[in-house]
């Protein structure tokens, strides 16, 4: 069973490397933001697999925190791409 978790971690790490390639190379800013969002999700799965391998439940609190932070970052970046500012006081589009 432990071998299976290690192989899963290896595959996710390869996926992580592919996402890093897109993050560095991506032709536009939006490509990089998409890659960053997917990197956050991949990091969550890496933390889950690590807590399975080490056998401790203390890592599981990181998962919720990382997913919330990743979502907030992606939303802020999307707003930044669309309008050029993150906080604006004019609410009608």
């Amino acid at each position: 069973m432990m071998m299976f978790y290690w192989i899963s971690l290896l595959i996710i790490s390869f996926a992580f490397a592919g996402l890093l390639y897109r993050l560095v190379k991506g032709p536009t800013v939006a490509d990089r933001v998409v890659a960053l969002d997917a990197l956050g999700v991949a990091l969550v799965s890496i933390v889950a697999l690590l807590s399975l391998i080490i056998g401790t439940e203390f890592f599981l609190e990181i998962i919720l925190l990382l997913s919330i932070l990743s979502f907030i970052g992606t939303t802020a970046f999307a707003k930044f791409i669309e309008r050029g500012v993150i906080f604006d006081r004019n609410n009608n589009r």
């Binding site: 299976f4 978790y5 899963s8 595959i11 996710i12 390869f14 996926a15 992580f16 490397a17 592919g18 996402l19 390639y21 897109r22 536009t28 939006a30 490509d31 933001v33 998409v34 890659a35 969002d37 997917a38 999700v41 991949a42 969550v44 799965s45 889950a48 697999l49 807590s51 399975l52 056998g55 439940e57 599981l60 609190e61 998962i63 919720l64 997913s67 919330i68 979502f71 992606t74 939303t75 970046f77 999307a78 707003k79 791409i81 669309e82």
Partner: protein, 109 residues
Amino acid sequence: MISTGVIFSAVTALGLVRLPDVYTRTHAASKSSTLGVMGILAGTFIHFWLIEDHFNPQLIIAIAFLFITSPVAGHLIGRASYMSGIPLAKETVRDDMKAAVEKKLDEKK
């Protein structure tokens, strides 16, 4: 559970590397990575519950949160990139958003 999640995460990375433009990449990233991480987290939850006898409600909250927010984030990025004028891929057949945006601009005038 975990193998399903791993397969879907690998498919996500493949999609992000191979697909031609931003919109198809958001398609790959939002759907398959959501399903992948949900599979992995559900497997972790069941492992800790059944084998180590430790019920962890935070994992359930994390699964629900990812299920809600990941498609929303994909949609936000897609709309933002369309509004900032990033071109579609050459293979794109039709562009429904263009008509909607022009109609909205006409209403403003």
